[in-house]
Each structure stands twice: as C-alpha cells, then as structure tokens.
Amino acid sequence: MGSMLASGDMSSVARVVTSDMKPDPAGQTTALLQVRELTTVFKTRAGSLAAVDRVSFDVGQGEIAALVGESGSGKSVTALSIMGLLDPRVASVTGGRLMFEGTDLRALSSDALRRLRGSTLSMVFQEPMTSLNPTMTIGRQLSESLELHQRLARSEARDRVRAMLQAVGISDPERRLAAYPHELSGGMRQRVMVASALSCSPRLLLADEPTTALDVTTQAQILELIEALAARSGTAVLLITHDLGLVARHAKRVNVMYAGRLVEQAPVHSLFAHPAHPYTRALLASVPRLDRPRQTAVAAIEGLPPALDQRDEGCAFRARCPMAMPRCAEPQPWVNLGAEHVAACWQA
C-alpha cells in the first residue's frame, strides 16, 4: 500500500477502477442501505453548492458502519439527506439514490417517509436538547411518540417508556419520567434519546456525533449502550463522527469524507493498518495517541479545506496534500486496493 508507482506504470493503471465506476463496497444487493451517487445541494447567494457530492456507500444488515469527517465534510448533511430532514428552503437532494430495504427513499411521499422515521429508520443527534421539547416532561414526550407511531394507549405507552428507561440503565425511572429535559444531565438526556430512538427496534439508526459534547466516560457508556441495544434488536448503525478512536472501537466498515466527497472506504482493520488516501493518513497522524510512546507533537494538516465554491473537479485535498502533483487537478480515479478497500487518489 502506498507504493509510489510512477503515473505511467501499468501495474498502477491496472488497479485503477475506471472513473465512471463507483465503489460498490458490499458488492451485493443484501445491504440494508445503499447510498448511490448522493448529491445534496445548498442554495446560496453564490449559487448552488454541492455539500454532498456523488457519495456512495453501503450499510449492511445489523452492522455498525462509520462515516468519518471533519466539520464541513458533508457527513451530517448526508445523514439528514437519508432521513429526509433537510430544510427545503436551504437544501435539497438533487441526485442519486437512497435504497433502503429495496425502496428508494427519494421516491417516497413525505407522509410515507415520516412513518418510516418513526419505525424502521431512526436518528440521534449530537445535542439532545435540540430534539427534546423543553416544555414537556420526558415521560410525556416519549410516550406521545409511542402513542402516535405504535398506536398504543396512554397507560400502555407509559409502561413501555418506563421499561425503556430501565433498559438504558436509568435509575429511578419514575422520577426521570416526571423531569423536564433541562433537569437531566447531558449524558442522561442522550440516554433518553437513545432509548427513544431504539424503542421500536428500527432497522437502521443514524447516530450523528452522539457523544461529542459528553465526557469521555459518558461517551463510552452511551456507545456501549447503542452497540448493545442495536445488537439485541439487529439494528444497523451508521455512526457519524470525527473521532477515529470511536471508529476503531465500534465500526466494522469506514467511509471517510472530505469537502463533501468520499475519499476512502474500507473495512476498519484495513483502513487503520493501511490508510491509502493522503487525507486519511494525515488525519490519523494528527490524532494524539495513548497507545504509542509519548509524542512531543502531532502532525497538523496545514491550511483549511476548500470552501465549496472553490472546489473543482480535481482532488479537493490537493492544496493541503504533501503528495500533490499536476494530475491531481483532474478528477481522481477510484483505486481498488482489494478486500473492499478503495481510495480516490492517483497515488493510492
């Protein structure tokens, strides 16, 4: 991996997937979610900008996959596109397919999508406060959603909610049910959201930076909880995060995004052992580590990602890339590195 073959070398050409072929990671039709060429555009005064630019990846049945990137990489917009939760005044999906259990989510009516969101498709956000109603008790809002989506009677819903809180390790559930969101700690609120998101055993949970605002101890608790509950109900999880440590701990398959585009995709062991895209390598090198002899400094990536209106058809990372060459101004090929590992770089 990473052998710097001259650009004219035939062996390097042989590994290049033709640029119109996009990675099809699972390579089968069994994936629960197949995102293909997803393009999501923001309407700005400067024109239409693709915050998500032709992104393709799969999430398999019951597996935990990660979508990794820094701010502005398009990872959260990807999740909102899948959920159909984009604000239509600002952004819309303009291309691609979102195949979920064989149905293209883009073809569904908003009613059908809403029904799906309450049952088979679920999401937790970074800041649970924004998704909880501050004027309603925890108990009321959780049982209301059950009454709505599962058509349970009020008392039945309340019993279910109590059991739900117990299942996520919330002590004294009776008292928590009567509490308002602000009366709970950040970790407790996120537990409640996880409980609620997984209460109807969805097929897929999108977890968008679910623990970023929390202490490392609480983070570990919440992710263990998500992993355990998902395993029990066979729920697949798309973990959206900037934290490569969490990816290494929880994910089976990883998708790395940069400036709205996918740059690398691999099973977790292959990605960490042989990161192939220069951005992935630089990102890994910039993480301070507890598992290695102490460093005195980590390698920063100089500069910033390009603004979306500055991005062209060439590699979006090339301005910051130590390996950049003239050819990087052309669209990058997907290079197949074997074992479902692909990277969008001439030199991968």
Partner: protein
C-alpha cells in the same frame, strides 16, 4: 521544568462554595465546587487539570485568576497573596495572568475587528504611547500566532474556528503574561486544526517562557502537552503526578477509568481492551457525601471508603493520590 525553586502560582486550601436552591422557596444549601484544593504551577511549566464536567476544573482556573475569587484559601502569584486584594491592587498583576477559552466565538466581540480586539488590552491598561507603537504591537501579535497581518481588518465571524482561537490566543498574549489558563482551548476544534493550535501553544511557551494551566478532558491531548497532571473529581484533587508517572502508573481508580474510557485509533487494540465502563456520573453538587467522593462509582470501594475520607498522600516522588486502595499500591 522546576529549575526555579519558587512556584509562579501557588494555591492552598482553595474552597469555592455557592448557595444552591434545588426548588423555589426551599432553603438554599451550600455546595462546594472546590474543596480544599492545593495546586502549584512553576514558571514555564504546563500543568494540566483533567476530570469530567462537574469536577471543578474550570472553577479552579477561574479562581486562580481571581475571575471568580475563592470563598476561602490562598492564591499566591509570584509570591504575592491575591485573595482579599482590592481590584486596584490586583490590576497590575492581572496583566501577567490571562485566559484562553474553549469557544473563541463566544469570547470575542463579534462587532470588533481583530485590530480592535488586540488593541483593547493595551488601551485598558494604558500601555501604549502612540498609534504607530500600537500598530506594530498588533502586527507582532499576529505574527506570533501565525495569522497574516491583513487579519487585523477582519471580524471574528470571517475566520474559521482554528483561526478564531489564534485571535483569542493573540489577545491573551498582548500584555506578555507569565501565566495563561487555557480552558479546553482545542476541544471545539477539528482534529487536524487541534494539532495546529497545540503546536502553537507549545511554541509560544518555548519562546516566551509561559506557564500554562491547561484544562482539558482529552487525556491523549494532555499527555502531549503537560509536564504535570492534576486529576479532579467532585471539587477535589484525587491524584497528581508528573506526566509519565501518571500515564504509566495511574494509582487512583478514577484516573485509570478516564484513561481506559479514551478510545485509541487502532481497531486491533480496541478489540482486545476490556469494555468495562465507569458507571454513573459525577454526583449532583447538592448530594451529601461521606467518606470517599468517588466510592459510588468505584469498583474497588470497600467498607472503609464509606466512612473515612482518603487524604491526598504521597506514594512516590511528586506523585500523590487520595485513595485508600490505590492501584499498584
């Protein structure tokens, strides 16, 4: 780092208590955000303070700078007692101690240009004679945080998060302080940008002989930057040690739990690590405690921990722990 015998900052027996009313009309109870904290920072040294939210680490930083003066105890800066000092007497000392916050957007006035933001400390302290002198100081500050001089004309919102943090570091450095409290200065930044800011902080420390109190929750970041680490829990110091001693021989079960909870970017290691997570969270400050404050979450807790407050005792050179049953001891 401790080549000079006298600490730059020395706090003893710091207590910060405030009245907490859990319900309207209820009689307020006094709770302690800091409980008998001792801490020393030597010139040029970086001391990291770690702990979960609610541990008191930010309160400690603010107390040392007298931004939130302690309820009792002593804070000496370069030998001079700060507690009880009138604001006027405090002022010349304030120039020498500065703060950098987590959220540079919240701490920079959005209506001011970077020039005005950087000029303000000089104007407040009446320290420049001419506008040409001020201009050259601002230029030097921008150079020292690696921002282009053209940045002076711009407003905070025109910068990325990392660049804003550079602006707030430049402002903190304006009056050439000896001591900077940095409260989670990189935790809101992207990893690649975080590395840039950490390198800048290390360079500035080298170039200016700065001492830092570095408040953080990320133990991998702390290991990179700190000389000494103080671990806080529920307003108390539970362990303090030289960096390598702490990471190699963490003695308090809480320190161990913090290290174990930190994921490392290596799936092979992660697959083989034990996934025993620390249960619960820092108790609410109004909770009445007896014995060891950590015992409700501690896997090693025994009968004695319920009755007897473990004192902070020395177990090795420069290594102190407040635990009846420390790991490896």
């Amino acid at each position: 780092m401790r080549t000079i015998a006298h600490p730059l900052v020395q706090a003893k027996g710091l207590v910060k208590s405030f009245a907490l009313r859990s319900q309207a009309f209820e009689r307020p109870v006094s709770v302690r955000a800091l409980d008998q904290v001792d801490i020393e920072v030597y010139p040029g040294e970086t001391v990291a303070v770690v702990g979960e939210s609610g541990s008191g680490k930010s309160t400690l930083g603010r107390a040392l700078l007298m931004l939130d003066p302690p309820t009792s105890g002593s804070v000496r800066f370069d030998g001079q007692e700060l507690v009880g000092l009138a604001e006027k007497a405090l002022r010349p000392l304030r120039r020498r101690m500065q703060m950098v916050f987590q959220d540079p957007f919240g701490s920079l006035n959005p209506r001011m240009t970077v020039r005005d933001i950087l000029a303000e400390p000089f104007l407040i302290h009446g320290l420049t004679r001419s506008s040409a002198e001020l201009e050259s100081k601002i230029g030097e500050l921008l150079d020292s945080v690696r921002l282009p001089r053209s940045a002076a004309e711009r407003y905070p919102k025109q910068f990325s998060g990392g660049q804003r943090q550079r602006v707030s570091i430049a402002r903190a450095l304006a009056l050439s302080p000896d001591f900077v409290v940095a409260d989670e200065p990189v935790s809101a930044l992207d990893v690649s940008i975080q590395a840039q800011i950490l390198r800048l902080l290390a360079e500035l420390r080298q170039a200016r002989g700065l001492a830092y109190l570095f408040i953080a929750h990320n133990l991998a970041v702390v290991r990179l930057i700190a000389d000494r680490v103080v671990v806080m829990y529920f307003g108390k110091v539970v362990e303090s040690a030289d960096r390598d001693s702490l990471y190699e021989r963490a003695a308090h079960p809480y320190t161990r739990a913090l290290i174990d909870a930190s994921p490392v970017p290596d799936p092979a290691i992660e697959a083989s690590r034990s996934r025993i997570t620390l249960p619960g969270e820092v108790p609410s400050p109004s909770v009445k405690t007896s014995g060891c404050v950590f015992r409700s979450r501690c896997s090693r807790a025994a009968e004695r921990c319920a009755h007897e407050v473990p004192p902070l005792r020395t177990i090795d050179t420069g290594h102190r722990v407040a635990c009846h049953f420390p790991i490896g001891g």
